[in-house]
């Protein structure tokens, strides 16, 4: 039964009704939900393509679809997942919703710009969707020249324009976060009282603002080359195709950190809340986010060890890639140390956090393999790399996104999700993920190249294992979709602070009032000071 007070209290969801009140909203919380719907759509589009890829790879001959279709499937899987799901995922949904609340602000610094950035993502997404429906694009999400400029007969321009427009969405979100963190912190919220989620988003925002314009420039040059043959990348006109790779990875490597830094921010919140301890080495974890953001700009050439880039450039990029691995390792050690003598709960978000640490550890450690020149020459462009970056981007970023979604679901919707089903889904995803991607490390070292529609028969057993895992993973991803929707109507009503967490977002009602706080909070303690929280944890499970 729902208490009458909970129904009548005004909050951001019931403050106004109708489509217009959503499409023209300037409320960061509603915009966060708009993003949630949008990227969920792209997640399932990208997921459907992944499913077709895995089904196709059950047999080595490639009988289900043509090579042309297969190439379009993996290209559009990458484009949908990276540019329209992963890059916006945590920042634009959870960051949008919670960054202002965590610092005690009523909204982001530029609410209209925030709405504009959602529209830009939608417009970019429509370009990409149009390209997919019109016939697709087959260049790979990397758009390497001169294939993309001269040889591909697919919808390169529409897709690239979609990414171009969506890039501005990312830039504006980053800009908004930077200004908000600088200017809108509540009284007493000093830099070193900020939750680590905010630090991580600040570091991410720096990359979004500084890196994404380079992607925009690269896309413009790509379009000029394709339409006007100006000779920047085309060797027949005196251009250099490898230049494109430099420009592309100058954005796209830091983009990996756009996906994983916010995930690390979420994990810091989860680990702290569900062990009731301050994050071990708070300042070091905070600075390691900034270190990753800065060093992340200096390692792009490790994608190009066999590209004909100079021998010595290869060595410098390998060295710097090892340097950027260290702050990530430090975070993992500090999270683990936080658990020591904690009060550890096995609530679903914590299970996702454990899953994240496990998968991110494997993804990070295999990163040492691909940063190693002698090994990368053998494994680059093989399934080893595919497995490695899925461990980081799916195992890492999506586990954290789902963990965060469960953690903040009560705050966003005012309802609890069903705990048993949710724990089950976390387990299934962890299991399915490892079944899908672990065999791909072996496939890669054996030498199976990525983006292969037809493959030698000796690779079949491992591919069948991977596809079997993918079907488990698909079930794991569909479950939250179902029970989250179910919980909107049937879930238990959530109290203000169901987890006994310390963040300011838990000091207001669930769901929050339109302006987040009834009165501006005044901060007197460091983040994660659990002596300030009465143990009002509800009984779940």
């Amino acid at each position: 039964m729902i208490p009458a007070a909970a129904v009548e209290r005004e909050n951001y969801l019931n403050a106004s009704y109708g489509l217009k009140s959503w499409l023209l909203t300037k409320d960061h919380k509603r915009i966060g939900l708009l993003y949630l719907f949008t990227i969920t759509l792209f997640f399932f589009i990208g997921g459907a393509m992944a499913t077709m890829i895995r089904v196709e790879l059950l047999t080595p001959q490639g009988g289900m679809v043509s090579s042309e279709t297969y190439n379009k499937l993996f290209t559009m899987h990458g484009v949908a997942m990276i540019f329209f799901f992963l890059i916006p995922s945590i920042p634009a949904v959870l960051g949008n919703f919670f960054l202002p609340m965590m610092i005690g602000a009523r909204d982001l610094a530029f609410p209209r710009l925030n709405l504009l950035s959602w529209y830009l993502l939608v417009i970019g997404g429509l370009f990409a969707l149009f390209a997919m429906l019109a016939g697709g694009v087959d260049t790979g999400w990397t758009f390497y020249t001169p294939y993309s400029t001269t040889y591909s007969n697919s919808w390169v321009i529409a897709t690239a324009l979609g990414i171009f427009v969506a890039g501005f969405s990312s830039i504006l979100t980053g800009l908004n976060f930077i200004v908000t963190v600088h200017r809108m912190r509540a009284p007493g919220m000093t830099w070193f009282r900020l939750p680590l989620f905010v630090w991580a988003h600040y570091a991410t925002a720096l990359i979004q603002v500084l890196g994404t314009p380079v992607l925009a420039v690269t896309i413009v040059l790509l379009l000029c080359e394709r339409l006007l043959h100006i000779g920047i990348f085309d060797p027949a006109l005196g251009g250099d195709p490898v230049l494109f790779q430099h420009m592309f990875w100058f954005y796209s490597h830091p983009a990996v950190y756009i996906m994983v830094l916010p995930a690390m921010g979420v994990i810091s919140e989860l680990i702290s809340t569900f062990s009731r301890k301050a994050i071990f080495g708070y300042k070091i974890v905070a600075f390691s986010s900034v270190a990753i953001a800065v060093l992340g700009f200096l390692v792009w050439g490790h994608h190009m060890f066999v590209s004909t880039q100079s021998l010595y450039a290869g060595m410098v990029f390998s060295f710097l890639s090892y340097c950027v691995a260290i702050p990530s390792a430090i975070k993992v050690f500090n999270w683990t140390a936080t658990l020591y003598k904690g009060s550890i709960s096995y609530a679903t978000p914590m299970l996702y956090a454990f899953g994240f640490i496990g998968l991110f550890t494997i993804g990070g450690l295999t990163g040492l393999f691909v940063a190693c020149l002698g090994i990368d020459v053998h494994v680059t462009d093989t399934y080893f790399v595919v497995a490695h970056f899925h461990y980081i981007m799916v195992g890492g970023a999506i586990m954290a996104y789902l963990g965060g979604l469960h953690y903040w679901w009560p705050k966003m919707t005012g309802r609890m999700y069903p705990e048993t089903w949710a724990r089950l889904s976390a387990g299934i995803i962890f299991l399915g993920f490892n079944l899908t991607f672990f065999p791909q490390f072996i496939l890669g070292y054996l030498g199976m190249p990525r983006r292969y529609h037809v493959y030698p028969p000796e690779f079949q057993v491992l591919n069948v294992m991977s596809t079997a895992g993918a079907s488990v993973l698909a079930v794991g991803y569909l479950m939250p979709m179902v029970y989250f929707i179910w919980s909107l109507r049937y879930g238990k009503v959530a109290p203000a602070n169901p987890w006994g967490a310390t963040g300011l977002e838990w000091k207001t009602a669930s769901p929050p009032p339109l302006h987040n706080f009834d009165e501006t909070p005044i901060v007197t303690h460091a983040a994660y000071d659990y002596s300030t929280v009465p143990g009002e944890v509800i009984d779940f499970g």
Binding site: S67, E68, D138, Y147, T150, Y151, P235, A236, G238, P241, S275, R276, F280, G281, Y282, F305, S307, T308, L311, S318, Y322, A329, F333, T336, T338, L339, Y340, K341, G342, S343, I344, Y346, F354, G358, T361, I362, L365, L368, F369, C372, L373, G374, V377, H378, T380, D381, Y445, L446, G447, P449, R451, Y452, H453, V454, P456, E458, Q460, V461, S531, G535
Partner: protein
């Protein structure tokens, strides 16, 4: 189906080196995976929440620990870096006596040209135990020459020459893959490397239709394209003599110099105005579109054959 291979064959001198490095990294990765997983499992059970009111004692960060778990991983990664870089360095430095073979990649086939004139498509026969150096280019998009059993690969880029080398250690038939996505039939751009006992290799080289050597083909092309009208051997033509050019240092009108390697000769044929030899006018037309990449390779080989003393070069043939 049925077979479950777990480790690739070792068939080049690089393969055991790369695999040893892999084992070192696997050991480090296994250690840290067990450490982290073990610690999480232990802490999660040992310190599980027993009451909702529980408030753990506040723990302060420990600088010693932070330094320790920064320094140890950093030291380990530096071992990985140096070890990996040393292999990479060797992979980039083919021995001087390596057997030279030319490779042209195009959508979606590999064309190999042996010095002696033998040509192959999607197959490459090489002798066991001898270092082999491939000089490669592409006629269209970026390809990648990848032989897993040799643990090495190299992009094949239009507009430039790249090289790869390996020394096979085991006779047999090995996969050749294109590892850089190159369009619709990318996964069909595969072939086989046949590593043969030197005797079998010599027999193979003698068999089949006998064509002229690569340099002979180049000489023919040199006449057909009327290069000899200007590039006269006695240095009195409108253009510089090409005798003894290869490997020499060329003075340019800009005042700089350039070493006449394959890439320079290729550029001078396709983009003659890019670098002008000091004392000559930019009168040469471009041969872009008039000569294929294989033709350029034949010309390069012909120019190489015009050694320092023409008489010796003639005599050698």
């Amino acid at each position: 189906m049925g077979k479950l291979p777990l480790f690739p064959e070792q068939a080049s001198t690089f393969a055991p080196d790369v695999d040893h490095l892999l084992f070192f990294l696997l050991a480090v990765a296994a250690f840290f995976t067990l450490l982290i997983f073990g610690a999480i499992f232990y802490f999660a059970i040992r310190y599980r929440r027993r009451s909702h009111q529980e408030l753990p004692a506040v723990q302060h960060g420990a600088m010693t620990l932070e330094i320790l778990w920064t320094a140890i991983p950093f030291a380990l990664t530096m071992v990985m870096f140096l070890w990996g870089a040393s292999i990479y360095f060797r992979e980039a430095r083919p021995p001087a006596d390596a057997l030279q073979i030319y490779v042209v990649g195009k959508q979606w086939m590999w064309k190999m040209q042996h010095m002696e004139g033998k040509r192959e498509i999607n197959e490459l026969h090489i002798p066991l135990g001898r270092a082999v150096k491939l000089t490669m280019t592409s006629e269209d998009v970026v390809h990648n020459f990848f032989v897993p059993a040799f643990r090495t690969k190299q992009d094949v880029v239009p507009g430039k020459y790249s090289t790869i080398w390996f020394q096979p250690t085991k006779a047999g038939k090995y996969h050749l893959f294109c590892a850089a996505y190159c369009g619709t039939r990318h996964s069909a751009m595969t072939g086989w490397i046949y590593v043969m006992e030197p005797r079998d290799y010599a027999n193979w080289m003698r068999g089949g239709e006998s064509t002229g050597s690569l340099a002979d083909d180049g000489a023919k092309l040199f006449q057909d394209l009327a290069c000899a009208n200007c590039h006269k051997a006695d240095n009195h033509g409108r253009c510089p003599s090409l005798v003894g050019l290869f490997g020499s240092t060329v003075k340019l009108t800009t005042g700089g110099t350039v070493t006449a390697d394959e890439a320079y000769i290729r550029e001078s044929i396709l983009q003659p105005n890019a670098k002008i030899v000091a004392g000559y006018a930019p009168v040469m037309p471009t041969f872009q579109g008039l000569v294929t990449e294989e033709g350029v390779l034949q010309l390069v080989e012909y120019i190489k054959s015009l050694g320092p003393r023409p008489a010796v070069a003639e005599g050698a043939r």
